[in-house]
């Protein structure tokens, strides 16, 4: 995954190529829902885009689980410190009011419910809120989990930011995850290139459609029923 800027729309509708949200659009839409002053952990990769899309006038405090609260953007070329990095092992900066801490403290922030929001990518999200985002379970894969299971177990709210389907067109929002789980019943809301969808006790529930996208299209590309309350 890369956070490199891409203006390309998802292929939401072959007949209407401008339909749907770009990655930046998804990040911008998600960022609207984060209250001022929130303590936020952004997952490695696409979720990092959210930091660039926070509405003017709001200040969020970014936590990176390797031990920094108050993370700032990438340093200017040549200004970085190899030992001032984020969880993706990229060099970052620190904002005024930052603090460093060890791993036990960092995960006390996560597991103790002190962080307000975790934004993560997904391989699959099930209609009961189960999340799979760390392994496809393939035999030759090297399993690696990092802090994902801690984040979904401990952070107050978990948002998923993802394409609605895989590159092969398979739904990522499903009735039941087939990949190994990261956590059970942990996702609150999904922001995709097609829609914003809540996970409720009744399953997937539509919050908002991306511009030019029909409910029927979203339902067709989702592996479980979506409720629509209007």
């Amino acid at each position: 995954m890369s956070v490199a800027s891409s203006g390309k729309k998802g292929v939401a509708d072959a007949a209407n190529p401008s339909a749907g949200w770009t990655r930046e659009d998804i990040a911008r839409r998600l960022a609207q829902d984060i209250p001022n002053g929130s303590y936020v952990n952004l997952g490695i990769g696409i979720p990092e885009l959210v930091a660039k899309c926070v509405p003017e006038g709001r200040t969020l405090v970014y936590h990176t689980e390797n031990g920094l609260l108050g993370m700032g953007p990438s340093p200017a070329a040549g200004q970085g410190d190899p030992e001032l990095i984020n969880a993706g092992k990229r060099q970052v900066t620190m904002m005024p009011g930052s603090a460093f801490f060890d791993q036990a403290t960092s995960f006390a922030m996560i597991r103790g419910g002190h962080l307000d929001l975790s934004v993560l990518g997904a391989l699959q999200v099930a209609s009961n809120g189960d999340l799979a985002n760390w392994s496809t379970g393939a035999d030759d894969a090297i399993p690696a989990v990092g802090g994902a299971m801690d984040l979904v177990a401990g952070v107050k709210h978990v948002f998923v930011m993802t394409t609605h389907t895989t590159k092969d067109g398979e739904p990522k929002l499903v009735g039941r995850c087939t990949y190994p789980l990261t956590g059970r019943g942990v996702v609150d809301r999904v922001y995709s290139d097609l829609a914003v969808i809540d996970i409720t006790e009744r399953g997937f529930e539509l919050v908002e459609l991306a511009p030019g996208v029909s409910f029927e299209l979203v339902q067709e590309r989702t592996g479980a029923p979506i409720l629509r309350t209007e």
């Binding site: 390797n66 030992e83 791993q103």
Partner: protein
Amino acid sequence: MIDKRVASPAEAVADIFDGATVMIGGFGEAGSPIELIHALIDQGAKDLTVVSNNTGTGLVGLAALLRAERVSKVICSFPRTAGSTVFPDLYRAGKVQLELVPQGTLAERIRAGGAGIAAFFTPTGVGTPLAEGKELRVFNGREHVLEHGLRADFTLIKGRVADTHGNVMFHRTARNFAPMMATASEVTIVQAAEVVDAGTLDAEAIVTQGIFVDRVVHVGQPQLESALNEAGASYP
């Protein structure tokens, strides 16, 4: 008079024995005690169990220790790193065992080990493959999994500055696992870029207290994985 200084990385790691469990600080290259790891490669101990968050990059540091086939088991949270093939190749060849642990559970297991706590319950990992076969118990209506404290024979960590009593301060995100690991070992070895007399450091700002540290070795210009990899280095 207390003076925990030793003359060299080689002297600091001389008694690490075959079959030892060794905790190694670092998150990526931040905090990785490269000089101590290289001294351990030179020293030759094998069949080691290594507890560390990652498995190194390139052909230096932790990756070099693995490549030298001195490690029979790794306990870590994220053994995959872009551009790193040493661990994946050994793992696929069946030459190294992996115990995969969620990062927060790894930190807490080490913290518990150092604090005399045998085991604890956490919701992290419940319902996932990493909780399979482990005891579950419901607290406050929520399932938790039993995880055991972790201890080691030796810990290798990197500090920015240490004093002769073994008090240590770290550099930014290089701190990561080091303070917990220092508490959880029989012998904790610190390499520090600066070593000062006891009484020099601000006692309010000390991160790891000397009681947890056994040996301090001065490494004035510590190497970094990224710089070594850019130069195409491999060790030995």
